[in-house]
């Protein structure tokens, strides 16, 4: 009995043509407005995706360029290359150089300082 009471009373629903027409017009207007909003938003942001793609491509290109430059630096700074350059420019190994031993005389002492017997004081007043 209680469950029966909870069901809507269909006999009292407004199912007239005028009411349905009004509802249809209202919903159509809302749908059109939403569609317009979506199309407008899409139109306004249409350059975002191409720009993003271009940025991604540029990032990839820059990453590749960075990697290649790093590689170039590593190649140029390789120890074998530095060694070849050093020898080609007349450098020699420190350990392989001729060594000679020599005696050096002591550095002459500076003249003794003149002993000062007076004390000079300067006072500056602010």
């Amino acid at each position: 009995m209680t469950a029966w009471r909870r069901l809507p009373d269909f006999s009292r629903l407004d199912v007239s043509v005028a009411t349905w027409r009004a509802r249809a017009v209202r919903y159509l207007a809302i749908y059109l407005a939403l569609a317009l909003l979506l199309v407008g938003a899409r139109a306004l942001t249409q350059d975002v995706r191409p720009t993003l793609r271009a940025a991604q491509d540029r990032e990839a290109a820059l990453t590749t360029e960075r990697d290649e430059l790093e590689l170039q630096v590593q190649t140029l700074m390789g120890s074998a290359r530095v060694r070849d350059w050093a020898f080609a420019n007349g450098m020699r190994r420190f350990a392989g150089s001729n060594t000679t031993a020599g005696r050096f005389g002591g550095v002459p002492l500076p003249p003794p300082l003149v002993p000062r017997t007076t004390l000079e004081v300067q006072t500056q007043w602010k």
């Binding site: 590689l71 120890s79 060694r83």
Partner: protein, 455 residues
């Protein structure tokens, strides 16, 4: 109606043909090479290989595997095929590199390039076929350099022959010749069988062994009686045969084995050769004598360096290491520290007296021993024209503080094939380079007596 059906069936045939050709194309892609996108991502995500100081030796750039240092340590690194390592470390550590993990080596690029430069200078100069060098850090066993000649650039690996790609210091097995003498003398000193000043009768030739014996001879003229020190200085085979006369074969073989000969160098993952020690049942007087001067046994340059490192490291064997972070290999005491110090003094004298200009540097503490061995041709005996020139030595700085051990081998020299002519200068150049980079100051020569007498 019939025409319409025919037209439709033609269209269906065409579509079926296109679909079939698509299948053929896809299959061909899989069969002849993986799809480019897959290859690119596999290569790109592969971990780099770096040297001890962070220098990049191999990395992936823009979908390609590149080796920025060119031929530096090329044979050690190996190379990469389409998607996986084919040789060297690229193959040995393929799985971890594929997982993007970096591989840090113990190699020191400056030492490696010094070793390669020395080989590149002397091996062609002596018209030798190939050569190899290993440099070890004395205390830790870290491999600072593992060089092969001719050079190999993994960036262009397809143009090189398999022989050139060979990682010679780890793989080439040869008879080390007279370099072994220092190791055997050290073992005899350790066993109390000789002293540096023990005197032996040393004719230029001597018959060793009984029924199956043979005559051994010396190539360097020397006095008829030599001390143990002089036996090393003149590299006397006859003298060595006397020193080992009272050496129990089993003990002597154990020493050689403890030095690392006849077994793997305990480098995890990396391929290396074992060389060969004769089984104990074959040991007779002749085998004992020939083993005492490095014939009838074989090893690699890596093993020779590790063995000399025992003398440098106060008698302790340290397994060589190539990859940082891996567990250290076995350590074992082979010689007493006092014995190691004695043999180092003897080796220092060898350089000073016999090869001061070839292997020595004025004011620096260098020590080592040369070797010149005829190449074994198996059952045909020894070649009369093919030689291996070897040198193994230690670099100390400050004096008697060994820091680096170096082993050198050059094969098949047509001019100046003696160890003192070819391998020793390679050692000297590498030592010079290492000492220069350390900024090591030479020890001044002792003042002359008349100068000392002056007030």
């Amino acid at each position: 109606m019939e025409v319409k059906i025919q037209t439709r069936s033609r269209w269906m045939q065409l579509i079926a043909l296109v679909l079939f050709m698509t299948l053929v194309w896809a299959y061909a892609q899989l069969e002849w090479g993986v799809p480019q996108g897959v290859k690119r991502s596999v290569v790109q995500s592969r971990g780099p290989i770096v040297a001890r100081d962070g220098t990049v030796l191999a990395r992936s750039v823009d979908g390609e595997r590149v080796y920025p240092q060119g031929a530096l340590a090329g044979q050690v690194l190996g190379m990469m095929g389409a998607t996986e390592g084919l040789e060297g470390l690229e193959a040995a550590y393929n799985r971890s590199l594929e997982a993007g993990q970096p591989l840090r080596l113990t190699l020191d690029p400056a030492t490696q390039s010094a070793a390669e430069a020395a080989l590149a200078r002397y091996v062609p100069e002596h018209e030798a076929q190939y050569g190899s060098v290993v440099v070890l850090e004395t205390r830790t066993g870290r491999i600072l350099a593992a060089a092969s000649y001719p050079p190999f650039d993994p960036n262009r690996w397809r143009v090189y022959s398999p022989e050139t790609r060979r990682n010679r210091p780890f793989l080439d097995v040869y008879e080390p010749g007279s370099t072994i003498k220092a190791l055997v003398v050290a073992a005899a000193l350790n066993e109390g069988l000789t002293t540096p000043n023990t005197v032996y009768d040393t004719p230029m030739r001597r018959y060793v062994g009984e029924r199956w014996g043979s005559t051994i001879g010396d190539s360097v003229d020397h006095p008829e009686r030599l001390t143990t020190q002089q036996i090393l200085r003149y590299s006397s085979n006859v003298g060595m045969s006397h020193i080992v006369e009272r050496f129990e074969p089993e003990r002597m073989r154990d020493y050689l084995s403890d030095y690392g000969f006849g077994d793997y160098a305990e480098l995890p993952t990396v391929t290396s050769s074992t060389g060969r020690l004769q089984p104990l049942r074959n040991w007779n007087d002749l085998v004992r004598a020939t083993n005492a001067f490095g014939q009838g046994m074989s090893g690699t340059t890596l093993q020779l360096a590790a063995a000399y490192n025992v003398m440098a490291n106060d008698g302790r064997y340290v397994a060589p290491r190539l990859v940082e972070g891996e567990p250290a290999g076995e350590r074992r005491d082979v010689l007493r520290p006092a014995t190691a110090r004695t043999i180092r003094t003897m080796l220092r004298e060898v350089v000073k007296e016999a090869i001061p200009t070839q292997a020595g540097l004025e004011g620096f503490d260098l020590m080592g021993k040369t070797g010149t061995s005829q190449v074994s041709l198996g059952a045909q005996g020894y070649s009369s024209s093919l030689y291996d020139s070897t040198f193994a030595g230690i670099v100390s700085y400050p004096s008697d503080t060994p820091r680096v051990t170096i082993a050198v081998m050059a094969h098949g020299a047509k001019r100046g094939h003696h160890g003192s002519q070819l391998a020793a200068p390679i050692y000297r150049d590498i030592a010079s380079d290492i000492l220069s980079r350390w900024g090591a100051a030479p020890t001044p020569p002792p003042p002359e007596k008349d100068e000392e007498a002056k007030p």
